[in-house]
């Protein structure tokens, strides 16, 4: 690797060429302040708080966008730099509501941390804080334009990672806002509610719609039997809320903490993930055998479903009719579980803990009540659950290990990997292979569908037939596959799509600080859960076998179809006014 010699604060050092001043400073023990900078995004250089002096340059330069060069003399600690950066932050604060005590982002706000770090004491000059209305139009997200610092991180992820493109900077000067066009509400544009903007936002300008009060109320109601289900990916992210390393596996402590909150039963979405594999795997086989529409595309990810409804409604026949695991769980809780426990389904309150903001929208879909009752009553993100634990003073890290309740808490390793990109595909292949060939699958790992590559194509031999499969995560990558299908150029049989980068472990409801590096750690965590699981194939889940024996009869049976399958809506974005 070629290097260059530079001077940082009078110290001469060698650093790799082709890196920014910010990166060079970091390598030498100095973390320069930043707001618009994000490790997974391209450089925007619009907040200017990373300004430094470079000898020979009249003005201060943005260290995030200026590359080092041979002989460069950089000063990060001069009075001029200090005063400039403080003035810039002061100007941002002059336009920012001072509501930190009651802000949802309070403890983890990058602006607040920066103001604290710089020892900001007072904000001089004219305050320009506006009182614009909040966007409360969706069940998933809240946008508070008053807190927006116009860094552009949300627009970047919305346009370039997801390519949904509903948030962008508008107008100019004091009137700048980062909104959908014409300042429309999120419900009136093709927002898929993935919440990647929430993870990108450095402040509290966009966040999940908080449903913790709904859950507290149910937990406090003696007439309600409150059950909770936890999504696969939450077990490898919740511990981050309690300062544990990214990807720490915290399943047992999570169960104990949920019991302490007062849930009557602590169940696992993994149970429903195994059920999804049974239904979706057989749907794939049925489509193969009867000449149905192929490729079949997975339907677990509600952000993805809303995306295809908006952008490619003509391809909806490709999407599996299976409900997502969250909804399958709810439907089973209010039918099968109600029956075996002898509890009136009207008294059962289903809470789910999800890595996802779009799950709130999915649970609120009017069609999701096939048992006669709403499948899922309240959806909490990982962040909201973390707040509930903290509220109750639960000392998460020192809890004793707990185990999920039976039978809706019994699951396999195949279900655990639903939380990572490629996991649904791998879980489905484990089951489909054995169903089709009647033979035991020797090597369970389908490594061709693993990893962070945006589009992963692979092929699998199913009893003599080569089946081509593809996996995409992040909607920009999903779009590539949809374009290929629309052009008739995709000869895949089965496609998995996850809305968020990395799959659910990188979902918009996950703890703040979810970067691609963190995603990789959580992926490792879930593969470890799978590896250590006693059972690793969905069809071997005894609770699922019993569910079919006692209640559903068989995959794709009429009762399965009624409770576990759904329909989709054309939400073509061209129709949106």
């Amino acid at each position: 690797m070629s290097t260059v010699e530079i001077t940082i604060n009078k110290k001469t050092v060698r650093v790799p060429e082709n890196i920014t001043i910010m990166a060079a400073a970091k390598l030498n023990g100095i973390s320069l302040p930043s707001l618009c900078h994000h490790p997974d995004q391209k450089v925007k250089a619009n907040c200017r708080v990373c300004a430094v002096e470079v000898e020979g340059s009249k003005n201060l330069v943005a260290s995030c966008s200026t590359m080092v060069s041979e002989g460069m003399k950089i000063t990060t600690n001069s009075p001029r730099v200090r005063e400039t950066v403080r003035t810039i932050v002061e100007l941002i604060l002059a336009d920012h509501p001072q509501e930190c005590l009651t802000c949802i982002r309070s403890g983890e706000c990058e602006l607040r941390q920066l103001a604290f770090k710089l020892g900001m004491k007072e904000v001089q000059g004219v305050k320009t804080v506006k009182r614009l209305p909040l966007d409360l139009s969706t069940p998933s997200l809240v946008r508070d334009p008053n807190k927006c610092i116009k860094c552009g991180r949300c627009a970047e992820v919305c346009h370039h990672v997801q390519e949904v493109g509903i948030l962008y900077s508008h107008n100019r000067g004091l009137d700048i806002g980062v909104t959908p066009e014409y300042g429309k509400e999120l419900k009136d544009v093709a927002c898929v509610l993935c919440g990647q903007c929430v993870l990108a936002c450095p402040v509290g300008a966009i966040y999940e719609k908080d449903d913790t009060d709904k859950v507290w109320e149910a937990l406090g109601n003696p007439d309600k039997h409150v059950v909770v289900q936890v999504a696969p990916s939450v077990r490898v992210s919740i511990a981050e809320e309690f300062d544990q390393p990214s990807g720490s596996i915290a399943t047992s402590k999570l169960v104990s903490a949920l019991r302490l909150l007062g849930f009557d039963r602590v169940f696992d979405t993994d149970f429903a993930a195994d059920l999804t594999i049974m239904e979706e795997g057989h749907e794939l086989l049925q489509r193969l055998q009867t000449g149905g529409v192929l490729p079949l595309i997975t339907s677990c990810s509600p952000g993805w479903i809303k995306y295809i409804e908006h952008f490619y409604p003509e391809l909806l026949p490709h999407v599996s009719s299976c409900k997502s695991p969250q909804q399958m769980f709810g439907a089973m809780a209010k039918s099968y579980y109600a029956q075996i426990s002898g509890i009136d389904p009207k008294d059962i309150f289903v809470v789910s803990v999800m890595p996802c903001t779009a799950k709130k929208y999915e649970a609120a879909r009017p069609e999701m009540k096939d048992s006669g009752y709403r499948d899922v009553d309240a959806v909490l993100t990982t962040r909201e659950l973390g707040r509930m634990f903290k509220h109750e003073g639960i000392d998460f890290n020192s809890l004793e290990d707990g185990e999920f309740d039976s039978p809706l808490g019994i699951s396999t390793g195949a279900a655990a990997i639903f939380g990572v990109t490629g996991g649904v595909m791998e879980a489905a292949l484990r089951t489909v292979y054995e169903v089709v060939t009647g033979q035991t699958l020797e090597k369970l790992e389908f490594t061709g569908v693993r990893g962070m590559a945006g589009v992963k194509a692979s092929s699998v031999n199913l009893g003599g037939t080569e089946v081509k499969v593809a996996v995409a995560h992040g909607l920009a990558h999903a779009k590539q596959i949809m374009e290929a299908i629309a052009a008739g150029e995709a000869d895949y049989t089965f496609i998995e799509v996850m809305c968020c980068p990395g799959g659910c472990i990188g979902g918009g409801g996950q703890p703040y600080g979810t970067t691609n590096a963190v995603r990789e750690k959580r992926i490792q965590g879930l593969y470890e859960v799978d590896q250590k699981a006693e059972l690793r194939k969905s069809h071997e889940n005894p609770a699922i076998q019993k569910l079919y024996e006692d209640y559903l009869q068989a995959p794709l049976s009429p009762v399965s179809h009624k409770l576990l399958h759904t329909t989709y809506t054309n939400r073509c974005q061209h129709e949106l006014q």
């Binding site: 493109g165 948030l167 962008y168 508008h170 107008n171 066009e181 014409y182 006014q577």
Partner: protein
């Protein structure tokens, strides 16, 4: 609208067309001198960019209006050189002739009046710009004559019917 926009975008290179030029051309093609929401959607579709990218650019430049304006746009310079050369009298005459103030549209939708910072025509101040044409060294009488000829021209073309939205 989609067809009109598609033709403009097609002439400029489809997905590679420069957005600002497309917006100006679409605005010029609009009888009300603006870029409608329908046009924003059509441009986004033709150029395969998001609607909010189109809106972002349109809302940044004052040259582009997102609200309907008159068929013809009269801009009056409000800067010092024109001010010294007698802008006030020109403005008074025009406002009186049109029956509107700066920032308004005539009731028949024919003319918008806007005050702008500089037209780049200080050498022949006082100046106004009517659509894309600069008129300099103006007297109030000449300004009124320009407006009357605009009205006459329109009346001849449309038999006196009002301007459509």
């Amino acid at each position: 609208m989609q067809a009109v926009v598609q033709e403009i975008v097609g002439q400029m290179g489809n997905e590679k067309a420069p957005l600002l030029q497309v917006l100006l051309a679409v605005q010029d093609a609009s009888p009300r001198n603006y870029v409608s929401e329908e046009a924003v959607r059509a441009i986004a579709r033709s150029m395969r960019v998001s609607r909010c990218r189109v809106y972002s650019t349109a809302s940044f430049y004052t040259e582009i209006s997102l609200k309907p304006r008159g068929r013809h746009l009269i801009r009056i310079c409000g800067n010092a050189p024109c001010e010294n050369a007698g802008r006030a009298a020109i403005m008074d005459a025009i406002q009186k002739e049109l029956g509107i103030k700066a920032g308004e549209i005539t009731a028949d939708g024919l003319i918008s009046l806007e005050k702008v910072s500089c037209l780049g025509a200080c050498y022949k101040s006082p100046a106004i710009k009517v659509d894309h044409q600069i008129y300099g060294n103006l007297t109030p009488e000449e300004a009124v004559a320009i407006i009357r000829s605009l009205r006459e021209e329109f009346s001849n073309e449309h038999n006196g019917s009002p301007v459509g939205i």
